[in-house]
Amino acid sequence: MKTTAAVPVTGIPSGKLGMWLFLASEVMFFTGLLGAYIVLRAGLGSWPHPGEELHIPAAALNTFILLSSSMTMALSVAAVHRADRVKLRLFLVFTILLGLAFLSVKGYEYSQKFAHGHFPGTGIFWDCYFTLTGVHGLHVLAGILTNLWVLGLTFRDDFLETRGHFVEVSGLYWHFVDVVWIFLFPLVYLI
């Protein structure tokens, strides 16, 4: 693959290094959130069993969706390596659709909670639930918008030569969002 990604003295393309540094800050952001959640939960003594309050099958389905979207994202990066525009667009579209499916299931979950009178501010359990899943949902939305932007760029004639590395960089972000959910799912829904 030929790209114009600048390679500074670090030997890492600038965009890729920038994304990894951003992800490093994101790791700390979510560590703070999850740390606060764990300390609050441990300090409260009694905590509702997630299975009684939350919809585990819906969350498991969402995990399946997000893991599948990570695969299609990785496949789109592989398509860039092969200079295969058709498959690149196809896999990017699949990734975007799976991201939208994730948000739809999350929206369904939220609507069920709202219907039962559970909102942010109705108790520490629901505060934690809406904060953790809401912040993650916003990250998914950001990933979808980024992938949509990259998909639009693929229609440029010189995309593979000049901007092919954008797919890998946006892919890193997408996989990170997946990794966060890999921990959120058990911590919020299973344990």
């Binding site: 790209t3 990570s70 695969m71 592989a78 990794v179 299973l190």
Partner: protein, 96 residues
């Protein structure tokens, strides 16, 4: 520039996905097993860690990464996460 990473095959990503889904099923199943809270939590988090390693190594291409600079960037957040866990754990035992 020439890409330093060899182009991975489509099939390899599919195999990793199968493993990830199997681990998802395993982790969800464990939460229903009568093995005690500590055992279940340890097992579920261990499975989550394995899934993370698979995504990192294969989907984020860290397995093929040879740049020491990048590994430094990747390593430090996890060092800080480890420090955060060590700070949080005593609080949990203190409260519980």
């Amino acid at each position: 520039m020439s890409d330093p990473h060899p182009a991975p095959g489509y099939g390899a990503y599919l195999v990793i996905w199968v493993w990830l889904i199997a681990l998802l099923a395993g982790g969800t199943f464990v939460s229903y097993l009568p093995i005690g809270k500590t055992g279940a939590v340890s097992l579920i988090l261990a499975i989550a860690l394995v899934k993370t390693v698979l995504v990192g190594l294969f989907y984020m291409h860290l397995k093929a990464e040879r740049s020491v600079s990048l590994w430094v960037v990747v390593f430090f957040p996890f060092l800080l996460v480890g420090a955060a866990v060590l700070l949080v754990l005593p609080g949990i035992f203190l409260f519980s």
